[in-house]
């Protein structure tokens, strides 16, 4: 048995599929693909699949992945092709690779947020402050006020018709920051903008290299 990762994108309509629904979708997709994924051996056997990093409802992504074990002989090219045949057009398959890194070595994710009717000056000013305080829900459900200034990397703001906000944020099992949290905090500071879309571009390791 070997561990592999299937990389795919999620575009357009597919952004309305929630994480839980993606899980059920994958179970059925595995079944239709005929790929020999290892099944759990419990009372109700099902394909054993792990999502590398759950994606929020409403987000698109250029680079998402699931991990699973393969029983028997099948090349990565063949596995990718079989998934390509059963995935919808809104979820193009990038490819399949043997797992190089462990899941816990995922450290960052990069995001592009497309905005409309946005006040560029106010957004710049917001990110130039000494501290950026946001409200973050803890696992216990309480809400903490934290400063995330140091957690935002490679921030850039470009304009080309629409305004695009690019940033790299912590992601993974240890620490996580959802850009929606930052956008909510900006709204509270009366910064004007309308969100057109949020896309998670890439998953990255500790050195900001592509997570594979």
């Amino acid at each position: 048995m070997r561990n592999v990762r299937l990389f795919y994108q999620k575009k357009g309509n597919a952004k309305y599929i929630s994480h839980l629904d993606m899980n059920r979708f994958m179970m059925r997709a595995v079944k239709r693909s005929g790929v020999p994924v290892w099944y759990t051996e419990g009372f109700n056997p099902h394909p054993f699949i792990t999502f590398t990093m759950p994606l929020s409802l409403g987000f698109e992504t250029n680079y998402d992945s699931i991990e699973f074990k393969i029983e028997g002989e099948m090349t990565n090219e063949e596995i990718a092709e079989r998934f390509r045949n059963v995935f919808p057009a809104t979820m193009p398959v990038i490819g399949v690779k043997d797992c190089v890194l462990k899941s816990k070595e995922l450290k960052y994710a990069s995001f592009t947020i497309t905005l409309q009717a946005a006040d560029r000056e106010a957004i710049n000013a917001y990110f130039e402050k000494d501290e950026i305080i946001v409200s973050k829900k803890t696992k216990k459900g309480t809400i903490n006020q934290i400063d995330i200034k140091e957690k935002i990397h490679n921030l850039s703001l470009t304009e080309n018709g629409a305004l695009r906000l690019y940033m790299v944020l912590p992601a993974g099992s240890e620490e996580n920051l959802n850009p929606a949290v930052i956008l909510d905090a900006m709204k509270l500071q009366a910064v004007q903008f309308t969100i057109v879309g949020i896309s998670r571009n890439e998953l990255l390791d500790k050195d900001f290299n592509l997570f594979e």
């Binding site: 357009g12 309509n13 597919a14 309305y16 599929i17 929630s18 839980l20 629904d21 993606m22 059920r24 979708f25 179970m27 059925r28 997709a29 595995v30 079944k31 239709r32 099944y39 009372f43 109700n44 056997p45 099902h46 409802l57 409403g58 059963v86 919808p88 809104t90 057109v196 879309g197």
Partner: protein, 612 residues
């Protein structure tokens, strides 16, 4: 609608997946190449509508026609309705996201009386005029079918034509006729007159209903060449009828999220309260090889890992165990589980239990329907107390600890003793659990009993019966509660206002059209949802229209002309009356397999048990 407009529309909507589309096996076509655009409308939310087998069948069937594109429309949930209004958007079809008003045929399925206001709401949200008479052209033809079409009279103001009976053949004929008439630029009247000639098509505007001073029906007169009686359609051979080779597979979880495989239509039992058992007659079975092939095919095209066998009473399939064996021959290897809903108490064998126990052990549900043998004889639910007890014994021995029992109250010829019988029976089941020497340690039994209020339905032997009064139901419910001694028995009742409205609409006439319109204009919708039903507004609507709802709840005489008497579901009025008379005498009728009771359903052909 652009993607951006859609994303703005669902920005604050809780479950955008209800409206987003793009599901596996959903059908997209080029609308420029399409002659007939068909909107299949389900008057409830996505999760419920997508679970409905009839919709899956007709969706596939219509999309097989190259000139027709069938799309899906569901009732928007309240948050989406608010967003549609706020953004000044019309209700749209999932596939094309085109407004409902752009469709040639707008077809509703009538599964439940309390969805009627949702029909009006969906039309209004889609910018379609509500009244049939106001829609002048052939465009936006509103049609409806499904079980409630057996008495569609309350909807006659809104719906242009009803399809009675099974839809596979008649829907295809209707759409083909529509295409011709659209090509010929016919008027709506020309089309409707031609449609009325198709067996199973009821065009209400072609029938003039006269009422007496006491509001009972005096006469129903057909106009022009419309038939005096409209017969429902049946499919004679289920082995040859269209069945989809794929289902649309939703991303979000729906109520029945699995392959549904039909095994037969009709029911041999003849329970006297049961409308489905009467209007879906005669019994016609599907060959087990075909059932197995179709189920396997659907698993392959959908990726589902569960097949649920569908019928009114699964255990009455004449070859159930061979069928299950046949299914298990491929399902185990494919890691597919088989579930058998609608099992009857008397058929519940340890062998069968063993086979289905490959599925989760959660709870078991049985429907004794009544608490005493006398009452079960009245309703012709031919199971004995011993069978119920034996079944529960089997279930407890099989490791089940939750048993759910369904009962009704407010049945004709019912006494307080019958109500007490519900608890006596439930208590026996609780006691039985503690007598089981192998009962799991540290676990306690729970017997949940659900007691609904009986609603008399058209085309049943109890179609003449009174709906029990509010005071009587209240007294019975209170007595039931005070008579219960065990904490292991959990009781739930159906909502009394829901049952009341259901009873009014089920046996309603055309005078209820105005009430429906009024109730809708007062804001009534989603009436089937307890949290949305506004009974006060309904009462206001009845008062405003000068209609007394109690009129529809009364006992009717055998010689009264019933509002649905011009519709023919093969079961004869004579048979229904005989059955009601036998109910009064507490006499049972054997099931179709034992002896033909001459209900009339064999006249249409296809009956598995017709007199030979």
């Amino acid at each position: 609608m652009t993607d951006l407009e859609f994303s703005k529309l669902v920005e604050n909507v809780q479950k955008p997946g209800r409206y987003a589309g793009g599901e596996l096996n959903s059908v997209l076509k080029d609308k420029q190449q399409i002659a007939v655009r068909f909107a299949f409308c389900f008057p409830d939310i996505y999760e419920i509508g997508m679970s409905h087998l009839g919709m899956k069948i007709l969706y596939s069937l219509l999309n097989e026609l190259d000139y027709c594109w069938c799309e899906r429309v569901f009732a928007p949930f309240t948050d989406m309705e608010a967003s549609l209004r706020e953004n000044n958007r019309a209700l749209f079809a999932i596939e094309s996201r085109d407004d409902l008003s752009e469709f040639d045929i707008i077809g509703f399925t009538l599964q439940y009386e309390l969805s009627y206001t949702n029909i009006l709401n969906m039309l209004a949200l889609g910018n379609v005029l509500l009244l049939s008479a106001d829609r002048a052209g052939l465009h936006q033809l509103v049609i409806a079918g499904g079980p409630c079409a057996c008495n569609p009279e309350p909807l006659c103001d809104f719906v242009d034509l009803f399809v009675l009976g099974e839809g596979e053949e008649v829907t295809a004929e209707l759409v083909s006729l529509y295409r011709q008439h659209k090509l010929n630029a016919s008027t709506k009247d020309e089309f409707l007159a031609a449609a009325a000639a198709i067996e199973g098509v009821y065009v209400p505007s072609l029938y003039l209903v006269k009422y007496r001073e006491d509001f009972s029906v005096e006469s129903v007169a057909p106009r022009d060449s419309a038939p005096a009686k409209v017969r429902k359609r049946i499919i004679k051979n289920l082995d040859k009828v269209f069945y989809p080779d794929r289902f649309v597979v939703p991303y979000m979880e729906i109520v029945h999220d699995r392959v549904i495989q039909e095994i037969f239509r009709g029911c041999i039992r003849g329970c006297r309260f049961c409308q489905a058992g009467m209007i879906y007659r005669p019994v016609r079975e599907k060959n087990l090889d075909i059932v197995s092939q179709q189920a396997k095919c659907l698993c392959d095209t959908t990726g589902y890992d569960e097949v649920s066998l569908s019928s009114l009473s699964t255990s009455d399939y004449s070859a159930l165990e061979p069928l299950v064996d046949k299914l298990l021959s491929w399902s185990e290897q494919d890691k597919v589980s088989i579930s058998l809903p609608s099992l009857r108490i008397d058929s519940f064998s340890p062998q069968l239990l063993d086979k289905i126990s490959k599925v989760r052990k959660s709870g078991l549900t049985f429907a004794p329907e009544a608490g005493t043998q006398r009452m079960r004889n009245v309703i012709n639910k031919n199971i004995s107390e011993e069978e119920i007890i034996n079944t529960c014994k089997t279930a407890f021995a099989g490791g089940y600890i939750n048993i759910k029992l369904y009962f009704m109250m407010g049945l004709p010829y019912e006494t307080m003793e019958d109500i007490e019988g519900i608890i006596d029976l439930s208590q026996r089941v609780v006691d039985l659990y503690y007598q089981n020497p192998d009962k799991p340690k540290g676990k306690s039994v729970q017997v949940s009993i659900s007691v609904s209020t009986f609603v008399p339905k058209p085309f049943t032997p109890f179609q003449w019966a009174a709906f029990d009064s509010a005071e009587s139901i209240k007294a019975k419910q209170q007595h039931l509660l005070s008579y219960t001694k065990s904490k292991k028995i959990k009781i739930s009742f159906s909502d009394k206002e829901t049952s009341f409205l259901e009873a009014v609409l089920a046996r309603g006439d055309r005078r209820l059209g105005a009430v429906l319109l009024k109730a809708f204009s007062l804001g009534c919708k989603m009436d089937g949802w307890d949290e949305f039903l506004d009974f006060e507004k309904w009462m206001e609507a009845f008062a405003a229209c000068g209609v007394d709802p109690l009129f529809y709840l009364r006992k009717r005489e055998y010689d009264e002309r019933l509002p649905w008497d011009h519709l023919d579901y093969y079961v004869t009025k004579g048979f229904l009356q005989r059955e009601d008379e036998k109910a009064a005498m507490e006499a049972v009728t054997e099931n179709c397999r034992q002896r033909c009771s001459g209900c009339g359903a064999d006249q249409g052909g296809g009956c598995s048990f017709e007199k030979r």
